[in-house]
């Protein structure tokens, strides 16, 4: 289980997370929704220790992430796959080498590394691209390679940072199906950060809305759909007129 406990994080004088608390249960996909620049990716990066909280803490399976030393972080990261918004593939390496990168760190035999990399690429529908370079692939294909790189590690958790942002609707739907298939095939716990409502409804078992640095509401997809909270309605319906309602209810516009 991943737990955020009253996490605060600021960059300079700009507060991003302000008392962010959330429990992410095992075996389900939790979607963190929120406005662009609202701190969703910042929250996600706390889980793998890429960022540390100014106050509060993040726990993964009972380990306080910011209290871990480098060896502890290395051990933790071996169980977590991270899919970056723009894939973050190493552009000097082939697709195959990118997918093998994390596996090589685990000192597995070469044959197993190759087999697992090939299996992961096949699962995301990119078998046969092993010898190509990231620059030769489309944005959607690169994101799928990013997923392959994460699932090749056979992680317990996969964190998706804006997996459908910048994709056309069809490719975005393919990404949604891929995330669902990954959960079903591998039984991983997923955390998806997005502002794409269609994707959130498609892949999420639970949805949390991040608003002004804290969780505004968390619940099942149906609970969020039927929410009477003005801010939640404003977000999920994307109605400009709802913004004024939300502003009256909370006193200011969202950050």
């Amino acid at each position: 289980m991943i737990v955020f406990r009253d996490v605060h994080k600021a960059f300079g004088d700009k507060p991003v997370l302000q008392g962010f608390s959330l429990e992410i249960p095992d075996g389900a996909t939790t979607v963190i929704l929120g406005y662009s620049g609202g701190g969703k990716s910042v929250a996600l990066k706390h889980i793998v220790g890429l960022l540390t909280p100014d106050a509060g803490h993040v726990e993964v399976d009972g380990h306080v992430v910011d209290a871990l030393d480098r060896d502890g972080l290395t051990a933790l990261r071996a169980h977590i796959g991270f899919v970056f918004q723009f894939a973050a593939l190493l552009d000097s390496m082939t697709i195959s080498d990118n997918v093998k990168l994390g596996l090589r760190r685990q000192a597995l035999p070469d044959a197993e590394v190759t087999q697992r990399a090939d299996d992961a690429l096949a699962l995301v529908g990119l078998g046969g691209t092993q010898h190509r370079f990231p620059g030769e692939l489309s944005g959607g294909m690169r994101k799928r390679v990013g997923i392959a790189r994460a699932i090749a590690l056979r992680p317990k958790y996969i964190l998706y940072d804006e997996p459908t942002t910048g994709l056309d609707p069809v490719t975005a739907a393919v990404m949604d199906q891929l995330m669902i298939r990954t959960r079903e095939a591998l039984g991983v716990t997923g955390v998806v950060v997005t502002h794409d409502m269609r994707s959130a409804y498609a892949v999420g078992d639970r949805i949390a809305l991040l608003y002004r640095g804290a969780v505004r509401q968390v619940g099942t997809v149906d609970q969020i759909r039927q929410s009477h909270d003005a801010v939640v309605r404003q977000f999920i319906e994307g109605r400009p007129e709802a913004a004024a309602d939300a502003e009256r209810s909370v006193g200011s516009m969202p950050v």
């Binding site: 723009f86 760190r105 685990q106």
Partner: protein, 253 residues
């Protein structure tokens, strides 16, 4: 004015603090033997072997100009075989290491800063961390080691080519015989002339690669920051070469 000076001193102080952190991280990362040794070979080629043509080009023309200028300066007053002395001493002690260092501050320092800065901006450095790699072991140590090892090799070749081009120039354009040039070259020669230049080159390689890595990894966002980091890597690297040049002259001569 005082505020500007304070700000500049504060920036320098912070820079040394970051350098200290980076050195500590490198010391820690050296224990990560499964990572950096395998990556160092490629950097030896990129930083060292690929730098040889520009270093030799500079050295060749430096030797030519030194021989001609020495001849111009000595005319009538100093025996012409001193052309060999001057070419040898200046190429080995000063111009070989320093001109090569300045050229490589541009080629190597800029390359490292731009590459690591771009990797930072595109989250490739974060990706390495999430895949349980230490970016210092993976990115910094191979580059710093390669530069520290290969700079003296490149400078040694530059010294040889600089002296050789001075010799060819003297023999063909200055009415100086081979025997005379060699006599001048050996006149005040000491083995120290060579190792002094190579010690300087080693320190230049270390400084340029450290500065390039530090500036590159400091980038947080955007192409503009990558450009700024690249420029700073070259400027600060060139400044450090001149400072180290003076330092070694005080300490070793």
């Amino acid at each position: 004015m005082l505020r500007l000076l304070t700000a500049r001193l504060s920036t320098w102080y912070a820079g040394f603090g970051r350098l200290g952190h980076l050195l500590a991280d490198i010391a820690r990362g050296l224990k990560d033997l499964p990572t950096w040794p395998g990556l160092t070979a490629a950097q030896l080629r990129r930083i060292g072997v690929d730098s040889v043509p520009i270093a030799l080009f500079i050295a060749a023309f430096t030797g030519i100009v030194l021989a001609l200028q020495a001849s111009y300066t000595f005319t009538g007053a100093v025996p012409l075989y001193f052309v060999g002395t001057l070419v040898g001493k200046i190429v080995m002690l000063e111009l070989g290491p320093v001109l090569t260092g300045l050229a490589l501050a541009g080629r190597v320092g800029a390359n490292i800063a731009a590459e690591l800065g771009t990797m930072r901006v595109t989250e490739q450095v974060d990706a390495l961390e999430t895949l349980a790699y230490d970016p210092v072991s993976y990115l910094v140590i191979p580059r710093v080691l390669a530069a520290t090892v290969m700079f003296p090799v490149v400078v040694a070749l530059a010294m040889a080519v600089g002296v050789a081009s001075g010799f060819v120039t003297a023999v063909n354009l200055l009415d100086l015989s081979t025997v005379e040039f060699v006599r001048g070259l050996r006149l005040f020669y000491e083995f120290k002339d060579i190792w002094y230049g190579l010690v300087k080159a080693t320190s230049f390689g270390l400084a340029i690669s450290l500065i390039g890595c530090m500036k590159g990894l400091q980038v947080r966002r955007g192409a503009e920051e990558v450009g700024r980091a690249t420029t700073q890597a070259v400027v600060v690297g060139a400044q450090m070469i001149l400072v180290l040049d003076a330092f070694w002259a005080v300490v070793l001569l």
